[in-house]
């Protein structure tokens, strides 16, 4: 199978993730979409790694996973804390500072 197809898939996943960030209201879902984008990046890295025949891309994918895990820790902590104080995780409700 042509490895380029994996690239198309990764671009598709990335786009779905980006669209999700822009249109979804729930902070958790938005955050999951960001994770989807990061994983799309991983797929692209691995595919390019295969194409170029060097390991850099695969190594980067591991780094991305670690970073994504750290992001989850911080992100969930923040989202949970705001959910507990407002009983809502909707990003539309977060509007204390509109002009």
């Amino acid at each position: 199978m042509n490895p380029a197809n994996y690239l198309y898939l990764s671009a598709l996943l990335f786009t779905i993730g980006a669209a999700g960030v822009l249109i979804r209201r729930n902070a958790i879902v938005v955050f999951m979409c960001v994770e989807l984008m990061l994983n799309a990046c991983n797929l692209a890295f691995v595919t390019f790694s295969r194409l170029h025949g060097n390991l850099d891309g695969q190594v980067i994918a591991f780094f991305t996973m670690v970073v994504a895990a750290a992001e989850v820790v911080v992100g969930l902590a923040i989202i949970v804390s705001i959910f507990r104080s407002r009983h809502s995780a909707s990003v539309d409700d977060a509007n204390l500072m509109k002009l």
Binding site: A4, L7, S10, F14, G17, A18, V21, A27, V30, F31, V34, M37, L38, A40, C41, A44, F45, T47, F48, L51, H52, N54, D56, G57, V59, I60, F63, T64, V67, A70, E71, V74, G75, A77, I78, I79, S81, I82, R84, S85, R86, V91, A94, L96, M97, L99
Partner: protein, 548 residues
Amino acid sequence: MSASSVHSLWTTAAPVADKFPTPHIEYAQLSPVLIVLGAAALGVLVEAFLPRRSRYTAQVALAALGLAAAFAAIVALADKGYGTTKAHIAAMGAVAVDGPALFLQGTILLVGFVAIFTFAERRLDPRAHGNQVDSFAAQGSAVPGSDQEKAAVRAGFTSTEVFPLLMFAVGGMLIFPAANDLLTLFVALEVFSLPLYILCALARRNRLMSQEAAVKYFLLGAFSSAFLLFGIALLYGYAGTVSYSGISSVIDGTAPMNPALADTTGNDALLLIGLAMVAMGLLFKVGAVPFHMWTPDVYQGAPTPVTGFMASATKVAAFGALLRLLYVVLPGMRWDWRPVMWGVAILTMLAGAVIAVTQTDVKRLLAYSSIAHAGFILAGVIATTPDGISSVLFYLAAYSFVTLGAFAVVTLVRDAGGEATHLSRWAGLGRRSPLVAAVFAVFLLAFAGIPLTSGFAGKFAVFTAAAQGGAMPLVIVGVISSAIAAFFYIRVIVLMFFSEPKPDGPTVAVPSLMTSTAIAVGVAVTLVLGLAPQYFLDLADKAGIFVR
């Protein structure tokens, strides 16, 4: 018959694979980063093992010592010539040790050092149950207004973990402008962003706003770093490597090309889209239009000491990374990126200045002013001359201290609900406390770029560089938006000095030596860089060469 010869009857020895080469790490040259991250890790241990009452002192001392030691290491490195003659790439191609890196790292360390003073201030908020408290929540995890929070306040808890968080952020910022491959760039970005997200959520007053700022910052920040990462993936696909020199040699066509990979390597679509996405990620951190949306909300909601630190240090780090990317990786592409950057710079300068005119909150006003300043700095970035680099370095140093000082002043003006940031509350401040108002006026005049302040010297430097780089129209737009920007700086001065003070107006808290020092440093740097900037310009000139 020995065991091995029996073994060889039915097996053959595979050729021994070469051992992985032991990475060669230049610890001495990386010492500033290592010291800061080491101190941060120690800070975590302090938080875990020291009794609560002694944590504050230990953390402040540790953080201050760590930053001071790291700064000493920077000075030592620069003294040995790593900024000029011995500039090279360390840590297996991951980190550059050169003039711009050392200059920006030094600036970030000094900014961090001064920021510690504002973080550690405990005199401003009234005592809670007999305990001195700082600007940070008693317990970040406690729900605002809950019994748990009240108990935490009564017990005199304070969030001393802000100091290790600050140190981690500083550590990431030190690597960011020195990163010499895209992976290091990405990791450094996350290392300094994640602690900032948490710091934003930790305000003692207005906790809901603070949490909201953190969510916004986090979601948008993660979104933008996903873009950055995908851009990195595309650039990796384009060049087959993520090291800056590797990519730039593929762009220049000097790298040996594998004919089998002609479809991917050197594919301009990959390059252009990847470049655009990486630039987007960096411009987000810089706060350039159209990626500026987070700035006002985050600046307003975050605890003011954090805002001051973030506004100055993040900008320094992010512009450093942007400069290195554009000047080291993409000089061959400058005819492609310059027009785009022109557009971004013009938009940023004008939008920042125009929207700021309508603001009614001091912190939001400063946020938009920081956007406008990002535009001015971009004008210097576009110059693509050595003068462009050094002028941007100088501007960043000048700007960061003005910002730090201005936000430190904002922490002083308070009423019952904490800081009084609404502009109408600042009316007549000049009558009530002339000194504080005068100091803030100095910062505002520096923002406005009035001669004899550091803001003017910086602005003149970047505009001259831009004009010499052939961007005279940018200079004219810059001058016009400076005039617009001057309007709202002046409006604040009018409010402070020419309005009658309100009877129920805010009081100016008398700060401890900590914040006073931070403000004094801000004023001193503003005036020194305005009156006698030659030494620092020389420094920036000497530091203005990237290593490739």
